[in-house]
Amino acid sequence: MYPAAAPQQVNLVPIVRDDDVVRVRQAVRTAALAAKLSLVDQTKLVTAASELARNTLIYGGGGRAEIEQADNGRKRGVRVVFADEGPGIADLELAMTDGYTSGNGMGLGLSGARRLVDEFDIDTAAGRGTRITVTKWAR
């Protein structure tokens, strides 16, 4: 009747307005504290989340963040998914290049976020939206 294991708690934060980026940051900070990430790792994850949430808002036309505790049996961590149903990224290699922006940014959000986390997975194609999953493990 019921699933054997308790379902993972996923904190879903919609990203539709500017201040939602702040809300995502706060939720990620809370999750990072719960997973006992160091201050440096917390700051790195929160900053990566800030970049990706803003991309979701600006380029993805809005979407959501899903924040959850991660556990690979040896380590605890935090996993965050950023998903939108926007235009997608046609040239991923170009988008991931340091300094490339199609808008008015610094062009360091995607590439920088990848350097700030332990695992970075991106699923996107032109017209299919963008889904980015990042994980940061406690050391």
């Binding site: 500017d18 201040d19 980026v21 702040v22 940051r25 900070r29 201050l39 440096v40 917390q42 700051t43 790195k44 929160v46 900053t47 800030s50 970049e51 803003r54 340091d98 940014g105 610094m106 360091l108 959000g109 590439s111 920088g112 350097r115 700030l116």
Partner: protein
Amino acid sequence: MTDMSTAGARIAGLLHERHDEIVRQWADAVTYAAKGRLTVAEVQSQVSEMYGALAKLVDSGSRDLQVPEAAELRAVLAELSRSRARRGFSPSETSIAVLALKDAVQSQVDTSDAGLLASFLWFSRLVDEFALFTFETYSRAREELIVEQGEQMMELSTPVIKLWDGVVGVPLVGTLDSARAQVVMEKLLQTLVDTGSAYAIIDITGVPAVDTQVAQHVLKTVMAARLMGAECVISGIRPQIAQTVVSLGIEFGDIVTKASLADALVHTLRRSGIELVRRAQRGEA
């Protein structure tokens, strides 16, 4: 089946007949629940106002808050929720103020009168609906309040202060979103002009995370200040921020950065030709 208009009529009659008793009891309950946060006079006027609007609605025989006749009551209830949200009452405390009316009316109902009892049940559901309405308007009022406070914070938390002759400082605290960054930049540039200062210190000790947007705003501010002939120093870069900024790939170029505001102040004083020397202790010389 109860005919709603008759059901309403019975209770409407009671509301008029027992006006004084009901209002007094209701006001007593509300005053008690307010735990001293409202004066008796405030409660009296709130309760009388609600009672008047409510009696009118019941007289009209309508059974919900959506009808045009309910406009006055809606306005009164919304005002109650708003004022309570502002004064720190909880949402349940706010709806209890409305729900307390049920007890006050019930105490006036003759329980052997089946017709009146049925009428009271009808009325009771109506009051539940009012309470729910206050709950909703309360939430909306809270949200408005938070937005307002955010705007006030934005104004309050971006002071530009004179640190020394020719040196101004901006301690940034909290989230530096685009709107606030704009305010900070304008204020800083204006203060540079007004005070004729040659140095500005932007202190980011209170900024929890520096992402590319924050960095871009700070860099733009520094460039704008330069165009005006002023030099900016960035201070308060904590270790975790420094590491994050480096991983992101942000370069501050030739901008002077200092660990603390004190270091930054010493730097700017030196640059303007002032040496700080510790006075020799008396008796040492």
